[in-house]
Symmetry: C2
Amino acid sequence: MASLEPRTSNLELDNHLYPVIMAGGSGTRFWPLSRQLFPKQLLRILGEDTLIQQTMRRVVCASAPNRVLISTNPAQAESIRVQLSEWKEALAENFVLEPEGRNTAPAIALVALELLRRDPDAIMLVVPADHIVTGQRAFDAAVSLAATLAGQDYLVTFGIKPIRPETGYGYIRPNLKMTLGTESRLKGHPVSRFVEKPNATKAAQYLKAGDYYWNSGMFVWRATTILDEIRRHQPALSRGIERIGQLIQAGATRQAIDDAYRTLTPVSIDTGVMERSKKAAIVPVSFQWSDVGSWGSLDEVAPKDKGGNVVIGRVVDIGSRRSIVYGDRRLVATIGLTDMVVVDTPDATLVCPKSRAQDVKQLVEILKKQNAPEHLEHLTVQRPWGSYTILEEGLGYKVKRVTVNPGGRLSLQLHHRRSEHWVVITGTARVTRGDEVFDLKVGHSTEIPIETPHRLENPGQETLHIIEVQNGPYLGEDDIVRFQDDYGRGVKREA
Amino acid sequence: MASLEPRTSNLELDNHLYPVIMAGGSGTRFWPLSRQLFPKQLLRILGEDTLIQQTMRRVVCASAPNRVLISTNPAQAESIRVQLSEWKEALAENFVLEPEGRNTAPAIALVALELLRRDPDAIMLVVPADHIVTGQRAFDAAVSLAATLAGQDYLVTFGIKPIRPETGYGYIRPNLKMTLGTESRLKGHPVSRFVEKPNATKAAQYLKAGDYYWNSGMFVWRATTILDEIRRHQPALSRGIERIGQLIQAGATRQAIDDAYRTLTPVSIDTGVMERSKKAAIVPVSFQWSDVGSWGSLDEVAPKDKGGNVVIGRVVDIGSRRSIVYGDRRLVATIGLTDMVVVDTPDATLVCPKSRAQDVKQLVEILKKQNAPEHLEHLTVQRPWGSYTILEEGLGYKVKRVTVNPGGRLSLQLHHRRSEHWVVITGTARVTRGDEVFDLKVGHSTEIPIETPHRLENPGQETLHIIEVQNGPYLGEDDIVRFQDDYGRGVKREA
């Protein structure tokens, strides 16, 4: 994936470049494939890698992996660590957690503070975790020019050439009379105008005008510059952030820092700072970009069949055209669809015309209000030791397939209200049950009575799969008392 | 459900009336809800009862349950017996099995032969198992008049007043100048003309003409009359049927009779006999009728929401119109559909415009060619003792939920290639394992090793549910050696 071109950028600037992956989004518009606890960045939408893995590979071309910071929240951090486990050690100390979402400005300020602690000359390359970019060389060249301009105290954004009159993006008009810098065929300019999501008429005008660019949501700036500009344009936010900085320096508790963060007013970096700053600059770029903002946008990035359909999974079709059909393990059969979206997951199916794909967000809001589990997470849930999949739930029982990676082990735990049965279907299970420790092979089973401390471990080289049958009046994941955990998850001892 | 009107029919005729439920259809057009081994007649499409249960209730108003004959095939007989278990004893000897489908004429001839053996004056009321009829009184009146005409040697069909220019049905024109009989407001006439599935122009003409009726596929005739008319118009078929009659009288083996049946040429009773016979008569009826021939036809019979949608199951919708959305246990989310069909089952999902609903048949043909299990049966399979549902299958394992009715028990059996684990989730299981017999309560489990004779039984009043985990290199249902079975299923002893 690394660029084969000679690197053209200033080495000294590169040495201060820190990619920041913004990975706190919820991605409701890709439901039912994305869930609140499994957002779009974790999806394998195109190619072998998930979107956040693709993003990580993209930015480590311009920097070392241990320079990459991940801005996310506690609910998503675990899944992201699992997906980025290839860079596990490099990233170990590089997660900056927002206690809760406050839009992009506070999140960026928090990362800027952390970077200043590490390097007063830090330059941030801020990229969303869930976009698709094609053209690594073009991306690297844009980063390089932007970093040069950032060194001159500009807030640099990447401008994408519009290809349709999209009303969902912001538009930026550069002041083309003034060039701030050049590199290869790229030029940087001051921004003459920002326009937030225009109406259809305006969007068509901007497309026709030819000198408006989409705001890609990727930015390059010095940590000091962005904090200065936040201070200038969002003084209240800035005071809140400074207080948090002081708390961090004074070694305050996590709780105190989180409480301070929660008092911040949500502000987006675009409307709160970029649109107001005199230091805004734009580098119109040449790489291909998509924010894959909805099921409909898969069209722009995914390969199509003869009928113009994007078809993923086990699908049998008769004569559909320009549709998106996403199947999982089950069979999806379609006849004569035109411009439709069908997404089939183990616990939820979505059907809508492409033109209504943006309304999936509204649908997820309805599910949230109904407290429907399908908005929150998948039947398969990732864990640091592997994953589990709920096969069936009914009154008084739950059936799971549990997958434990080689060397992985679950916490030493007990349950007050349920017994469990484990049957090994692949691999070898090392079972701790009360005072006993024993190994179970394929086709063998054990019972874990209520209140019995137990642990499941995979001592082998092969992945372990077991079927777990739970019985009891209450089967929530929160009926767990942990005595020891390899992954630093809350170990409680009850009174 | 019984008519409250005084019965107007001739009692003597009633005494010879035998309803014949034609239950051999495969119903591919209701896939994925119907399957080859679970055809439309077994579906609960409207109301509490399945279509065959509704049909049974309808015909026992005109006759005693032990007068009802069921014409079906061995693959479907078990499921039908389960669904008609309310009349278990009355129907015990009344299943007439075709060894394989030869269209309606041979099936009807076979039943006529059987009826002649029981009652030389038998009058048959032939009804498909999978149609919907609304208006019991009107149905009873039509049967009564038709039986009178059948007593005069007519082959009587029920004519339905067309409500749209349907091209999928046959049309019948009565000779209105001649009345064969009257009862209440109904009249019987000779048939002047049959037209098989016309084109759209002709269908529109017939609808406009006002004196054409749809052929409902329901018939009333004497067993001797229909056999005579088969002899006249289908002499080859008649000779085959006579040979089968002789075999039956001579006490031939099932195998010999089946072999003879397989040599018959498939012929439909409509085109092969009714359209050729001079004895054809028609009773235009007043009850409402639908053959629910495809998903699109649900419109005619099912209640609709404000948007004109037929919605069944757990569905969340934003603004759909005139669509049919059928969900099962999983969530189905729809946005802005117009005239669409969405059917979601545990292992297959169908999406198509209503206008293409007839093409589901073609889709099932493709699945059949692909040998896809989804064309054949559901993940839930009915058995005489209860049912089982496949929760997951993978390499070397299968997970099932097994449901055993109170008092039900599986055969005493063993498997050569798999071990099994049973965990009780509801009720009490009586387990035979080798020489042991013991009871298992909720939350307890047992292992059944390979080659060990075993049996599962529900000794309680409550339904028993267990989770069964199978392990082994081969997990087909045919790895079974049965030693004893309560339901007369093949008991083998291996050498």
